[in-house]
Symmetry: C2
Subunit: 223 residues, 2 copies
């Protein structure tokens, strides 16, 4: 709220007003006019700082991503198994995002547009994506006993994709306090641990090789 320059103060006031109104009424029901009025600012002025209503939300996401990175080491401390570490990681994400779930729909609707800079696959969000994969790296590297070398290299990125899938589910989750998503993670994380543990099983070998080369090929085509 108390930025040094005049512009920083105005910008913070707009974000604060938007966050309060989004949480109170939801994304769609909150108008830009209401945000501007609540921030004590003209409508046009809000657009001086944020090119669109969507861009207002990007700030929240960045904020919580930073906090996620800061608090992750603490919740991983002393946790050994892959399933438990993965669950701890996602539970922390749920905890941080829970207050924003009501209007997350409005946010992720536009994130689903690959042309939008908000898309997790867009070039614009590459830094955020790399940071998120680095967090998965942290999850994987601390596993005891260590994961099989067969899948070690690709695992963080695959788990990030898994995370994106869970987020997609979370957005759709209308159960109380997103209990269904928590159930999903609590059940699928052990499955992932089990499959990863079986990575050296001869019968699965061909499939794993195929999956890794497919990922490589697809990324090459997307480039």
């Amino acid at each position: 709220m108390t930025g040094r320059t005049r512009g920083e103060q105005t910008k913070a006031a707009i974000i604060d007003a938007a966050l309060a109104l989004f949480t109170e009424r939801g994304f769609d029901a909150t108008t830009m006019r209401a945000i501007a009025e609540s921030a004590g600012v003209s409508l046009g002025n809000a657009y001086y700082y944020f090119r669109s209503k969507d861009e207002l939300v990007q700030g929240f996401y960045d904020r919580t991503a930073v906090e996620h990175g800061e608090r992750l080491p603490a919740v991983l401390d002393g946790v050994d198994g892959l399933a438990d570490r993965l669950t701890a990681h996602l539970d922390l994400w749920f905890e941080l995002m829970a207050p924003q779930h009501p209007f997350a729909v409005g946010f992720f609707r536009n994130a689903a547009d690959p042309a939008s800079p908000l898309s997790p696959f867009s070039a614009a969000s590459a830094p955020a994506r790399m940071a998120a994969i680095a967090l998965m790296e942290l999850v994987v590297e601390g596993v005891v006993p260590a994961v099989p070398a067969t899948v070690r290299a690709q695992l963080p990125e695959v788990l990030w994709l898994y995370h994106m899938g869970v987020v997609l589910f979370w957005v759709h989750d209308r159960s109380a306090e997103q209990a269904a998503t928590r159930l999903l993670v609590r059940r699928t994380a052990p499955m992932i641990e089990r499959v990863v543990a079986l990575a050296d099983l001869p019968a699965l070998q061909a499939t794993i090789v195929d999956l890794t080369t497919l990922l490589t090929d697809l990324k090459a085509m997307a480039g």
Copy 2:
């Protein structure tokens, strides 16, 4: 175009005009006023038949779904393996949807909103969802040799989820003629066939049971 009643003709004219304009200009650049004018109809009249711009797309989607169902038996005829049948099914879908890929982004952005009737998981699209799962039923039941009984019952719905995932990828696919998506299917379909063939493997048994009960539990929570 030549429905029996006056209403059917008008409705068809609106869909035709919308489809033509969407293909020509894209989803966002096409206004409801332009659609109405092109259909030789008033603006309000378009809203008599379609509650929203999104719902217009649903009408068009239903059309291609019907055509998909009609042509599927032909492309499955004489094809035995699960991977080949699955690939044939999806290739037909790609063929039907290819002309609409340019504006599919605008379509699926709103479909990503679970509150939208366009969401494949919404109650409003339950009939379309059931029909799509029925097509997968067709794919599965014709497999020679038959798939293991262990996974037989759940497989069509799981494959439908796979289809939805492929569609998500397809929407994001910016490679020429969506070649990356075709590669994805060509590579993952055999993996699915292989994993399904291994469904009776003792090491995978627990995971498969977990997956099926999880699906049941999640659907119960969603209800």
